[in-house]
């Protein structure tokens, strides 16, 4: 896996809110087709890191390079079009649209005002929606209003919406929070499957889940990188044990 090129390079990244550094001089490199899990105690800066990469928060200093292109000054929608997808912590779907429409709206064609006015639902769109729906176990719910889905299904739907865009880097913020055991199972499978041909960053608290999916784990603490490596290596690191069990 070490031969893979770097897709995302975060260097000396810092953001401060009124003097408080939520992310502090952070370096992070994610390779092509890698599934990286970011863990850390509450307030470690995990969600802020994803916010910085996707542009929801502007960096105070440092650089974010995606496929060797500087991202820090780029508006959010441009970053998406370059291939960065982001799933939010609480399922963020369009409740008043059907599952089908949720996926259709996320299809990366007709993204301009006039493009969307004259967008045609052709065979390619339908086919793509059917594919994704099968992947996220929602094939039989396509015509239902999205607000009728269960919590876990909403999470899958949002992942599906991101897959519609076929991003090269997919970032997921606690995708299994609030899911039942069987749903977690299916989600783990789903994540493994979709990381086949793209890089994925996942924030997760559930250690069993992390163990199942992670190629490599990054531990954040107070905005800084504490440890990085395989799950076994990180779990054995005394600094990590201190942060999680200490105090």
């Amino acid at each position: 896996m070490s031969a893979q090129p770097i897709v995302l390079a975060v260097e000396n990244l810092t953001v401060s809110f009124d003097g408080f550094k939520a992310v502090n001089d952070l370096n992070l490199y994610v390779e092509k087709n890698e599934l990286r899990v970011v863990i850390g105690p509450n307030g470690a800066g995990k969600t802020t890191l994803l916010d910085l990469i996707c542009g929801r928060t502007r960096a105070s200093a440092g650089s974010i390079k995606f496929k060797d292109q500087e991202m820090t000054k780029m508006p959010e929608h441009q970053r998406v079009r370059k291939g960065i997808g982001r799933k939010f912590q609480n399922p963020s779907i369009y409740e008043s649209l059907t599952v089908f429409e949720n996926l259709e709206v996320s299809y990366p064609r007709g993204r301009t005002v006039f493009g969307s006015l004259f967008f045609k639902r052709d065979a390619a769109v339908r086919q793509r929606i059917d594919e994704i729906a099968a992947l996220i176990h929602l094939s039989d719910r396509l015509e239902d209003q999205a607000e009728l889905l269960s919590h876990g299904q909403k999470q899958w739907l949002e992942i599906g919406m991101l897959l519609m865009q076929d991003p090269e880097l997919l970032m997921l913020d606690e995708p299994v929070a609030g899911m039942s055991v069987s749903e977690r199972e299916k989600t783990a499978e789903l994540l493994t499957r979709i990381s086949d041909n793209r890089s994925v960053i996942v924030i997760e608290h559930d250690m069993d889940f992390v163990k199942r999916i992670a190629h490599k784990v990054t531990v954040l603490h107070q905005g800084k990188m504490l440890a990085e490596g395989s799950m076994e290596k990180v779990q054995a690191d005394p600094k990590v044990i201190e942060v999680y069990l200490g105090h």
Binding site: E76, H77, N90, L97, V105, T112, E158
Partner: protein, 394 residues
Amino acid sequence: MNTKLKALWGGYGTVLVLAAVIFILLPLSLDLFRLNLVGKYLTYAFVAVGLVLCWGYGGILSLGQGVFFGLGGYCMAMFLKLEASDPESTKIQSTPGIPDFMDWNQLTELPGFWLPFKSFLFTLFAVPLVPGILAFIIAVAMFKRRVGGVYFAIMTQAFAAVLSILIIGQQGYTGGVNGITDLKTLHGWDIRTDEAKYLLYYINGALLIGVVLLGRFVIGSKFGKLLLALRDREERVRFSGYDVANFKVFIFCLAAMFSAVGGAMFTLQVGFMSPSFVGIVPSIEMVIFTAVGGRMSLVGAVYGSLLVNYGKSYFSETFPELWLFLMGGLFIAVVMLFPNGLAGLSNQWREWRDRRRPKAGGTVTPLTAPPAGATPPPAGKDPLPPVASVGGGR
């Protein structure tokens, strides 16, 4: 074949009924005076239809639609006024050939910005474009900086205040508080005759149906779904690769231009335009037309405009004391009791009935009115115990 017809009816049935009401029912059952009044109410419906798109679907509440209605109306009024102020009919003025109110205000020359309105072609373009460009400037400035919600509403209200103060304050250029009055002819065609009034009523109705159809096209497209998506989850849309501001700018400008067409038709049918249609109070009243009809229903908005305005003239003639109570009550009622207005009543009634009849696995009530003919939602799987769905804030 039969199902095809049904589908067609489901798509356009309500519009057909509306067209029948406007073109056949009303003209046959009302005298010309009343019909002209209805024509006036229907010009407000342009604003209401625009608000369905912008507010109902897009979630952008504009409290300044009177600005665009007024600007459209003023553009038309300026052309008509210039035609009515030919040197022959204004020869008793100290400066013949300029509008009477300018003469009263000691102006001796037509102000520069009036000059292009001598051309009818220019006026035709100016009616939608002047308000459209203003809307574009406002919308770009606000939406690119992600000002929205109540802030945007307050800003539009401030614009309504500014324009009405400006028009009233600059009487020499605008006709002041009286507005632009005594409009007579359009290219020599007298707009005050009975035939003209009938014709204008029909033109107005046809334009309105056109605007409703255009609205349906927008709602039915991917753009329409994006509007709903934007209203509910702006961030998600942004992080799906859309430049959200552009979509808001477009729908706001479209609503403004609809309003402007209504304003111009108002001027033609009623024969004057004044700042009393521009300020804060008329602008917010226009929102109630939409709210009463149903903020998610284009056709409903037209009926809402008719109903509220009919109620307004009925009550202010017979029980003037009651009208403001009623109007105030309407604002509160449509917000607290009937969020989808007239158009949503049948759904609300069905939900209420279903709730009274206890049923296993009660259906979840959607917030927005589902489109007519949508399949009833199947009883979904029981949702998992909710994960504290806090956050989001207000």
